[in-house]
């Protein structure tokens, strides 16, 4: 009961952004749970898309407009369209029940549980940064600042990531290339 009271007291001290965070966090978790529990793969993918939208909302709350929009363009707009595309083609309606044997289920639960414990311990140990509202720069997280940081402090990881993308692209072209004798779809 004491904890509940302190939680209520905490709710009363919140600002509008705090309430938005809790509401959005609740919806995010709900849709993320739907992703794993939905029976139909299409519903699962749609819930995942909705989860990405909620994450975009979180980025907005964190004053990261650019990241929020890029999250929509890249994840919701491109990657998830391809997911949906592939799953629509696979036609998973006749649920392949043989893949859901006890062994896979147990293995999945163990791996998931270990991952959760790991993440919880990491987030518990991780230091949470503080900020001073008086000197806080409202431009933090805007695209100009992000660009300056990305192209000065983190130029090497940035360029390495682009090389990685190039390799992935070349690999995809190699896989998709039609040889002379291949059947023509």
């Amino acid at each position: 009961m004491n904890q509940f009271d302190s939680f209520l007291a905490h709710l009363k001290t919140l600002t509008a952004a705090g309430y938005m965070f809790y509401g959005l966090g609740f919806i995010t978790l709900l849709s993320a749970i739907t992703v794993v529990t939905a029976r139909n793969p299409i519903h699962s993918v749609l819930a995942l898309i909705f989860t990405f939208f909620c994450l975009t909302g979180h980025y907005m709350l964190l004053n990261a407009q650019f990241l929020a929009i890029v999250n929509i363009i890249v994840y919701a707009g491109a990657i998830m369209v391809l997911f949906l595309f592939a799953i629509m083609f696979l036609n998973l309606k006749q649920d392949d029940e043989e893949s859901k044997v006890t062994l896979t289920k147990t293995a999945g639960v163990i791996v998931g549980g270990v991952l959760m414990v790991l993440l919880l311990s990491i987030f518990n140990a991780a230091p949470v940064g503080t900020y001073n509202p008086g000197t806080f720069d409202a431009q933090t997280g805007m695209v100009e600042r992000l660009g300056i940081v990305l192209y000065s402090d983190y130029i090497l990881p940035f360029e390495l990531a682009s090389v990685l993308f190039l390799i992935a692209m070349v690999g995809a072209v190699m896989l998709g290339k039609r040889e002379a004798g291949d059947p023509h779809f």
């Binding site: 407009q65 929009i69 595309f85």
Partner: protein
């Protein structure tokens, strides 16, 4: 925020919303009139004077049709599809600057839904979401033709988004900002409109806009010769109406984005002189507001021209075959737009504004030589009587 500013802002947003819907409504009428004009017919002329009430009659017909949901369809997704199509179509006009600013007492409110500093990326993101309405509707219908239409729509949109994004990048390099208002204000001088500095980017952007709107010659998702009705085969009543209507809204917003990005938005030649003359004769507040109004009217004239252009192309150019569409997207437009980005960068480095005209020149020369070198067709032998 002050209450007065809030009221003016809300009025602006409501007006943009209402005008978007109104223009989309009358685009359906205009489409039929333009089609009739191009095919030497009269077109709709029964409902009201000049057939002006035709869109309202169409909407009434749509509402009174049977709202049918197929038995095997996934019911909620079937309903969600047209709603999403409409939602994403209406979202993108929020960041387009429709005019300079309205002055009221000491306030200065820009004529724009919201001025975010990632405006163009917002439009791009909303456009990339537009395909969900079609995909979900097509899949939920539980019909092979609908599914094929949806899959076509998805692959077409993804393919053309790449070239679209690359042509936007060239503009961003010229402007140095993602804010649409900033991009418009950079084009205050007529000769610095992006159509003159980025001719190739404009052609690529226009082509991709056609593909993103699923308009002819890229309307493969609803190709009736191959797919019955495409993704909306199973739809009837106002759900079908929403799908068709969202296409016209998309047409309006893409025309607005094209005018904003490449044709100077609300700018027109001798704008500052007109503004100064109006302020001089009507006073600071009224003069400024009238000047803003003129700018908005000019922007809408540009938008109407592009809507007409969309229709003109639809009733002139035949539909592509699907492999031609993919080849055009991946093998022509994307390499060209990468070349455009590189040349724009080189131009910025050496301070040459009109550097991308080099590609246009080379392409024209290549096309001309190709046309000259091509083997001449033998004249068809006319049988002698």
């Amino acid at each position: 925020m002050d209450l007065t500013v809030l009221i003016i802002k809300s009025l602006v947003i409501l007006a943009i919303f209402g005008i978007t819907l109104l223009i989309a409504t009358y685009s359906t009428y205009a489409e039929r009139k333009v089609a009739a004009f191009l095919q030497d017919r009269i077109g709709p002329n029964r409902a009201g004077p000049l057939g002006l009430l035709q869109p309202i009659a169409d909407a009434g017909k749509m509402f009174f049709k049977e709202d049918f949901i197929p038995a095997q369809a996934s019911k909620w997704l079937f309903i969600l599809g047209p709603c999403l199509a409409m939602l994403t179509a209406l979202m993108s006009s929020a960041v387009i600057p429709f005019g300079d600013s309205i002055k009221y007492a000491s306030y200065d409110v820009p004529v724009q839904g919201l001025d975010v500093n990632v405006g163009i990326l917002y439009v791009f993101g909303v456009v990339s979401l537009g395909v969900y309405g079609i995909m979900i509707g097509g899949w939920a219908s539980n019909n092979k033709f609908s599914l094929l239409g949806a899959i076509r729509a998805a692959s077409q949109n993804i393919s053309y988004e790449v070239a679209l994004g690359l042509s936007i990048i060239a503009i961003l390099m010229m402007t140095g900002s993602l804010s649409l208002r900033h991009i418009v204000n950079e084009q205050a001088n007529v000769w610095e409109w992006n159509i003159f500095t980025q001719p190739l980017g404009f052609v690529i952007f226009l082509t991709c806009a056609f593909a993103e709107c699923n308009r002819t010659p890229f309307d493969l998702p609803e190709c009736e010769t191959e797919l019955v009705g495409g993704y909306h085969t199973e739809y009837s009543s106002m759900k079908l109406g929403l799908y068709l209507f969202s296409e016209y809204i998309n047409m309006f917003t893409s025309s607005a984005v094209i005018s904003t990005l490449y044709f100077g938005g609300f700018h027109y030649p001798f704008m500052t002189q007109v503004h100064d003359a109006l302020v001089g004769s009507l006073g600071d507040v009224a003069g400024h507001n009238v000047a803003t109004l003129i700018g908005t009217v000019v922007l809408f004239a540009k938008i109407f021209f592009f809507i007409f252009f969309f229709m003109w192309v639809r009733w002139t150019v035949p539909r592509f075959r699907y492999d031609q569409l993919m080849n055009l997207g991946w093998k022509s437009l994307i390499p060209l737009s990468i070349l455009n980005v590189i040349l724009t960068g080189a131009g910025l480095l050496y301070n040459i504004k009109y550097a991308t005209w080099a590609i246009v020149l080379v392409m024209v020369v290549l096309g001309a030589t190709n046309a000259i070198k091509a083997p001449r067709r033998k004249p068809v032998a006319v049988p002698q009587v």
